[in-house]
């Protein structure tokens, strides 16, 4: 933890230094970029909810025996894992309207990012579900525990501990990938930075700030993830 804090402090000092150096124009271009940061956070938050829900549903689907469920989950995962996020966003925003489905750039952005990362997350979830020892299921059957209770109360709590690291990585990837929503007219950090750069030409400062903002978000997720991992694995130390 300590070195991380040191790094963050150094970065903070760097930002302050930069701010002083560019004080006059910072007043002008920083607020729009921060407004972009809010959009990035909003997109990230809703995409994250969608991504995690879809991961769990599709991951469970892949793990299920029922062929129809498993097949549906597989198709979803293959389609969204095998296609570029940018093209998916274009599809949602520019192509679907031709079929009468019109959505705001925000909704399209959330859908695109969530669907795309849900497909990756599903594999993480499925891997975690299969990593829970088989004996757990057998003990549950022997105790006549209902399948649904087994999944919710026994399988998932143990799988979560296994899936946290993978999901934390994906969350960080996802936040960075939200930069692509700038391609469908959303003014996020990336778009705002490009706009401000066109106005003020402070390329170094503007894109450094953008970089640092993404970096800070990622660090935040990493810390949160580490805490979560510790929380979920606290009783599993001597896992058999």
């Amino acid at each position: 933890m300590k070195p991380r804090i040191a790094i963050l402090a150094a970065l903070g000092a760097f930002i302050v230094g930069l701010s002083v150096a560019t004080f006059a124009e910072l007043k002008l271009f920083l607020p729009p970029i921060l407004r972009g940061a809010v959009v990035t956070l909003q997109i990230s938050f809703w995409s994250w909810l969608l991504f995690v829900s879809l991961s769990c549903i599709a991951g469970l689907g892949r793990w299920q025996r029922n062929l129809l469920v498993r097949w549906t989950a597989t198709v979803y995962i293959e389609v969204f894992r095998g296609t570029s996020l940018l093209v998916i966003l274009f599809w949602l925003f520019f192509v679907l309207p031709e079929f009468g489905i019109i959505m705001s750039p925000f909704v399209a952005g959330v859908l695109g990012v969530g669907l795309n990362f849900g497909a990756y997350g599903a594999e993480v979830v499925r891997g975690a579900l299969t990593a829970v020892p088989k004996g757990q299921r057998e003990a549950a059957i022997a105790l006549n525990i209902k399948p649904r209770n087994f999944v919710v109360r026994i399988l998932f709590p143990q799988a979560i501990a296994i899936m946290v690291p993978g999901m934390v990585n994906l969350t960080i990837e996802m936040i960075k990938a939200t930069a692509l929503v700038s391609a469908i007219t959303l003014v996020d950090i990336t778009y705002a930075s490009v706009q401000q750069n066109q106005l003020y030409f402070r390329t170094l400062e503007i894109f450094t700030i953008a970089l640092l903002l993404y970096y800070c978000f990622a660090q935040f997720v990493r810390f949160g993830g580490a805490a979560l991992e510790e929380y979920f694995t606290r009783h599993l130390a001597k896992r058999r």
Partner: protein, 258 residues
């Protein structure tokens, strides 16, 4: 009503194309304590797993207290059992595994009240009261709030036994309950099993390599090899007067290994 707790009638079980049980006939009376012995891979675990409905059989009939396990009567016809029927039969059976299979994210008490609460619908208080009694019976009342990772192997196995008793089974299956334990912990688990056997309340099917223990607690020992019962008898006859060559070989090998 016969007084059999378990009956196997020409049961066949294969994994893919490996025949494990072939026309197995086997019966256990109510309240009887039966030990199953046999070389590795002879199908001992499979017998228990099939009974616990962890594996499906390909042919034959298994009766649990005269009711078919995987079939049921519907309008006089014998049809494949539905979920409710399987659950009903299963509730009569409890199983203790070689690797305990405790739920690692729940305390000892949590492990014990999980099924009574969520399967039987008992309140937390009711379930806990009974679970505490059973934990005390296996000598672990003071460990109720510990997690499995904080318990020794012997303690974990005793929790597993208490957990299975919480569902009030009439038939108890033990699959090498002490094989995963350090030698100094074997005794404490065997003591619990002996108490259960002596109580006379349970029909017990025990797979173990602890010959001395089997001899003491069992009413009958079945020697199984190649998915068939080769010899069965009261313990003293099995150990001191084995009739078949295969059992003689097996016993001499086991005694050599000591």
């Amino acid at each position: 009503m016969t007084d059999f707790a378990i009956q196997f009638d020409k049961v066949c079980k294969a994994y893919d194309d490996l025949d494990v049980l072939t026309d197995l006939d086997f019966a256990v009376r109510k309240g009887e304590v039966v030990t199953i012995m046999g070389p590795s891979g002879s199908g001992k675990t499979t017998v228990l797993r099939v009974l616990m409905t962890l594996e499906e059989i390909q042919d034959g009939v298994i009766l649990v207290q005269d009711e078919p396990l995987n079939k049921m009567y519907k309008n006089g016809d014998l049809v494949d059992a539905d979920k409710a029927h399987v659950r009903k039969i299963r509730s009569k059976i409890g199983m203790v595994f070689q690797n305990f299979n405790l739920f690692p994210h729940m305390t000892a008490l949590g492990n014990c009240i999980e099924a009574p609460m969520y399967t039987k619908g008992l309140s937390k208080q009711e379930a806990s009261e009974e679970a505490m009694k059973l934990l005390a019976m296996v000598g672990l009342a003071d460990k109720a709030n510990q997690y499995p990772s904080q318990l020794s192997g012997g303690q974990q196995q005793r929790v597993a036994i208490a957990r299975s008793l919480c569902m009030h089974p009439e038939i108890l299956l033990f699959d090498e309950p002490t094989s995963a334990l350090d030698p100094e912990m074997v005794g404490e688990v065997l003591k619990v099993i002996r108490d259960l056997a002596d109580s006379g309340r349970y029909t017990i099917l025990l797979v173990t390599h602890q010959m001395g223990f089997a001899k003491e607690v069992s009413d009958r020992v079945c020697f199984i090899d190649g998915g068939k019962i080769v010899e069965e008898n009261i313990p003293s006859e099995i150990f001191e007067n084995p009739k078949t060559e295969r059992l003689q070989q097996f016993l001499s090998k086991v005694l050599e290994a000591r």
